[in-house]
Amino acid sequence: MTEFVKPSVEYFELWPLLAVFGVACLGVVVEAFLPRSIRYTAQVVLALGGLVLALVGVVLVAQRVQTYDDGAARGVLAVGGTIAVDGPSLFIWGLVLALAIAGVLLFAERHLDGGVSAFAGQAAAVPGTDAETASIAANREHTEVYPLMMFAVFGMMLFPAANDLLTMFVGLEVLSLPLYLLSGLARRRRLLSQEAALKYFLLGAFSSGFFLYGAALLYGFAGALDFASINEAVRNDVGSQSLLLIGTGLLSVGLLFKVGAVPFQAWTPDVYQGAPTPVTAFMAAGTKVAAFGAIMRLFYVALGADRWSWQPMLWIIAVLSMFVGAVLAITQTDIKRLLAYSSVAHTGFILTGVLGLQAADQLAVGEISSVQAVLFYLATYGFATIGAFAVVSLVRDGAGETTAIDRWAGLGKESPVVAAVFAFFLLAMAGIPLTSGFVGKLAVFSVALAAGAWPVVVAAVIASIIAAFLYVRVIKVMYFDKPIGDGPSVAYPSVLTATTIAVGAAITLVLGVLPGPVLDLAAVAGEFIR
């Protein structure tokens, strides 16, 4: 047993992480000591300030960070090698922070539902009781959602940057626990929301168990938890092969659960549907970005030398996810469930990019790498998703949001702008040229093809065409079908939601027309350090 050495903390490089964590803790203090009347303002300002501060930190760190070790990749191993601040980490941090800022804006929206936010007035009040009625009458709302969200953002940043299995597990839990809670806080349809939260929690805990067991097995294999040592062990072929394989499998379960890959997707539609729409928007975008960062780091850094054993497994899961997601989305009647299944299909597409891993010496000079393709796809997916869910929160009737698709009939006439923006997001998800989705799909397909995974690419093209059908179906309902009854009405949002939607649409367009800069950024983000 070596003596405990106090690790050094690289405060500068960890600044974005620490800023978010600090703001989260401050938010708890605010909740405890400030009067109710000013909590909303204080929390929103605090959260936005912290996120912007962290984002500035990401930019500064990205400019200063030096090449690491042998010079192939840039980055720093921080806190005794537990956190890797490298190109992919910084890219994902920036993306998560940008999505989180959009998320805060959606959380803070109060115009849509008569001056209160989308969150329950008093979560502890049992639905249908006097306590609930009283809380509604008093126009209460939970402002704890902001610190909760900050903790989740902290987890989303720690998760993909973790450089050993234990830190990764901590990141996973810190990201998940606040989201379980947030999912249960809907103001309308509370039973559905609480049910979703409970399911998410139980299944999430179950999958975390798999992750932890896998970590233990890998420790058994390599005798260490950090990725560099595991990589060494895999390379030198020491230890039991079965321990490695079973450990890899169980770790994959935990990670693939988070991104909603088939066969671990069962929770996705229920949770996406039940959670308050701002939470769904933030969770759908942010979790996927963070978890794919972690998936790439685990598979590329720790298990990269063993890729022949896990690539076939990812082939199958990618194909299954694309097809099950696309096909089941066709039969959905609820727009949030439809978007959930569509996100399952997107998981498959991103996995197509992930399995396009090639050894560095096999890549032609300047050839697009799988990390670059996946990072770019995540950026396109994140903004289109958060924008689409933001639009969903606008379409309402007397009982809250109208999520039944057939009730969206005639939206094109009722409010052409909202319908047009939503149609645009759907076309982007379908991968129509001149939207971000097209470039993203092209990138992941070409890296997979270059790595020889052509069966997956053929399946992916076919699946994307099935998926295109379902997006066009929604567009047809909005524009061609006759409204049922008086049709839905579109609530006028405040500047908060409007900004989110506008920025999401603008980014989706820009990434489709001029994707160069972001693709370059993803290329500069380069490779993982180990």
Partner: protein, 664 residues
């Protein structure tokens, strides 16, 4: 079959032996002058579409009324301006040396990352120049015609917006200098076609037809997108220039795959067997749409794709053979459908399919055929647009009735329509001197020279063409009046007949393009030079034979249709062949059995599995109104448990798969 592939191989081999590729595309990027305005050809109709569709709905109501009333003029003006510009560009191109008639324009770099660069680049060469004139020229005429045809439609402004959108997308398809840009245009015309087929959305049949066209075209798009992905993987680029340079270095298997995938894409867009089923239904769209999109331009995009990708097809005899087979089947298939249809537009649609089959056939024959494919494409654009618009004019006079059994003796009632239609008729059957005579003659001649069987089948197709077009002509314009009550046919207004007259003139004179072999020489820098095979008989004899076969077809129609009274109801006691042709040769039934039903079963099965097996609470949750306890009980009654079970099962699968792959 053996004979066929052998012969086509022989056609392709001499080139491979000499090591000569299709010409490399290397456009002059700094041509300057009027060529700097190339982008404007696309931008004008885009502007029209944006103003009519994007801006007009948001105007204050008084201004919007103005836009609704006069919007069509703006749309027509944009198409016309685009045509004028195309003409100026064409003249400028003619003015350049024959060697430097490839002009490029770089608009912006769409994306660039490492070695992967895709530019928004335009390529204007001899091939694109001809297409530009066809699209904007015929497009403008059809815009003018539609002013009259859509006069009483409350959504006329929107209609013209869609038309402009279509023209812009089609021009993008033609002018792009790489396959990605072509794909953008390809999707764009598909979208415009979808919107326009379903334009009369109050008719369920129109909505169904639009959906069918969309779905079948997506199948074709699989081919095109995979081809592009394969190009990126093989060559690292999808630029016409770079691919045409590198194509020779790819393996034969890759080239075969590329050719077949591109053919799949072409089949979808150009309604070739087995993806032909959507075209007849697409006639649900307003007639100007049928004329522009489903006759003159969009459906010929597949032919353009094959000719443009000549640098790939020339190197892959396998794919060329496939093109020839598909084309021959389609040209007969479409002709047979044309014989049995009583709906005038569907009969014409069958004919379109068949004529595109001829173009495809020529394109499949390689460099000897490319110029004639394009030549027939142009003449067909004239005479088929002419006849569709003529059919629209007839429908206009007959209260939108499309059943030819309710027509008859319209030659007196609608003299201008009759005369112009007759010009188109003479052109399509190949009456000596008319445009179609020259173009079809050359295709059949070339086919005979390359492969006797294919040539004879194409010849038979020409005879059937003579039959069904004469039948259509006789049923519509001659014989006795079989009109419905309260129908008073009248000639259409000037705004509709003038485009007819112009198109009729083009149908007659289109053959001039072949004067002095002009079109062959003009296209040679694109299609490549190759020595023609000697046809089995002297050219003049072949021409006489073709004309005789057509005459037999015409005569057959005269004896079977012209000399008898046409029943007002389609007779039911007909031969099996007629029944099969009426049912589109069971194209839908085949699709249904092979694709639709298994697909639906798969979706249904998955959905059931999802609902019953895994996803227990699809709608249950939203209807839950009881207390939390109810929810809890349901949760404990197994739904989460079943989710968890599926998670456990998945985990087992993952681990077992890993172990099986690696330790097994």
């Amino acid at each position: 079959m053996n004979l066929l592939s052998h012969s086509v191989l022989a056609a392709g081999l001499p080139m491979a032996e000499e090591g000569a590729h299709a010409p490399v595309i290397a456009p002059d990027m700094g041509a300057g002058g009027v060529f700097d305005l190339l982008w404007l050809v696309i931008a004008l109709p885009v502007l029209g579409a944006v103003l009519l569709l994007g801006v007009a709905p948001f105007l204050p109501s008084s201004l919007r009324a103005v836009a609704d009333k006069h919007g069509h003029l703006l749309g027509t003006a944009m198409a016309a301006l685009s045509f004028v510009l195309s003409l100026v560009l064409f003249l400028a191109l003619v003015g350049r040396d024959a060697e430097s008639r490839q002009v490029g324009q770089q608009l912006w770099t769409w994306f660039e990352t490492g070695s992967l660069t895709v530019g928004m680049d335009l390529l204007y060469d001899q091939l694109a120049a001809l297409f530009l004139l066809l699209i904007t020229g015929v497009g403008t005429l059809i815009h003018v015609y539609a002013i009259g045809y859509m006069e009483h439609d409350p959504r006329r402004r929107r209609f013209f917006g869609y038309l402009n959108l279509f023209v812009a997308a089609m021009l993008t398809l033609i002018l792009s200098a790489n396959f990605v840009g072509l794909f953008l245009g390809w999707e764009g015309v598909g979208l415009a076609s979808y919107l326009l087929i379903g334009f009369w959305q109050h008719k369920p049949s129109a909505a169904a037809a639009a959906k069918k066209a969309f779905v079948i075209n997506r199948v074709g798009d699989i081919g095109l997108s995979l081809a592009i992905a394969l190009m990126f993987a093989t060559f690292g680029t999808a630029d016409f220039g770079a691919v045409s340079e590198l194509a020779g270095e790819a393996s034969q298997g890759t080239l075969n795959a590329l050719g077949l995938l591109l053919l799949l894409g072409a089949c979808g867009k150009s309604a070739q067997v087995p993806l032909q089923a959507w075209l007849l239904d697409a006639m649900e769209g307003p007639t100007p749409v049928s004329a522009l999109i489903h006759a003159a331009t969009m459906v010929t995009a597949g032919v353009y794709l094959v000719v443009r990708s000549n640098f790939i097809f020339d190197l892959t005899p396998v794919a060329q053979t496939a093109v020839v087979v598909v084309a021959t089947v389609t040209l007969l298939w479409g002709a047979i459908l044309g014989c049995a249809k009583d709906d005038i537009k569907k009969a014409l649609a069958g004919s379109t399919m068949s004529q595109i089959g001829y173009m495809m056939l020529a394109a499949g024959l390689g460099p000897v055929g490319y110029p004639f494919a394009i030549f027939h494409l142009l003449t067909h654009g004239f005479f088929k647009a002419n006849m569709f618009l003529g059919a629209g004019s007839v429908m206009h006079g007959m209260n939108d009735d499309v059943d030819m059994r309710h027509y008859g003796a319209l030659n007196k009632a609608m003299p201008v329509t009759f005369l112009t239609f007759a010009m188109g008729y003479l052109a399509i059957i190949g009456f000596p001197g008319f445009s179609g005579f020259w173009s079809k003659d050359r295709i059949i001649e070339t086919a005979l020279a390359e492969n006797l069987i294919i040539g004879i089948l194409a010849l038979i197709g020409a005879g059937i063409t003579g039959f069904y077009m004469t039948r259509l002509m006789l049923m519509t314009f001659f014989g006795e009046k079989r009109w419905e009550k309260d129908v008073h046919p009248h000639e259409s207004p000037k705004v509709m007949t003038v485009p007819l007259i112009v198109l009729a003139a083009l149908s007659v004179l289109g053959g001039l393009l072949l004067f002095n072999d002009w079109i062959v020489t003009w296209l040679e820098p694109v299609t490549g030079h190759v020595e023609h095979h000697e046809p089995p008989l002297p050219a003049i004899v072949i021409t006489l034979i073709i004309t005789a076969v057509v005459a037999i077809g015409v005569a057959a129609a005269w004896f079977l249709v012209g000399r008898r009274a046409v029943p007002r109801e389609a007779p039911q006691d007909v031969s099996f062949a007629t029944r099969a042709a009426r049912a589109d040769l069971y194209g839908d039934a085949i699709n249904d059995a092979v694709v639709v039903r298994p697909g639906a079963a798969l979706v249904g099965g998955l959905a059931t599995f999802d609902r019953v097996g895994v996803d227990g609470v699809v709608e249950g949750g939203s209807s839950a109104v009881g207390g939390l306890s109810t929810t809890m009980r349901r949760v404990q009654n197994g739904f989460v448990r079943s989710y968890a079970l599926s998670l456990l099962g998945g985990a087992l699968l993952v681990v077992l798969a890993l172990l099986a792959v690696n330790l097994g």
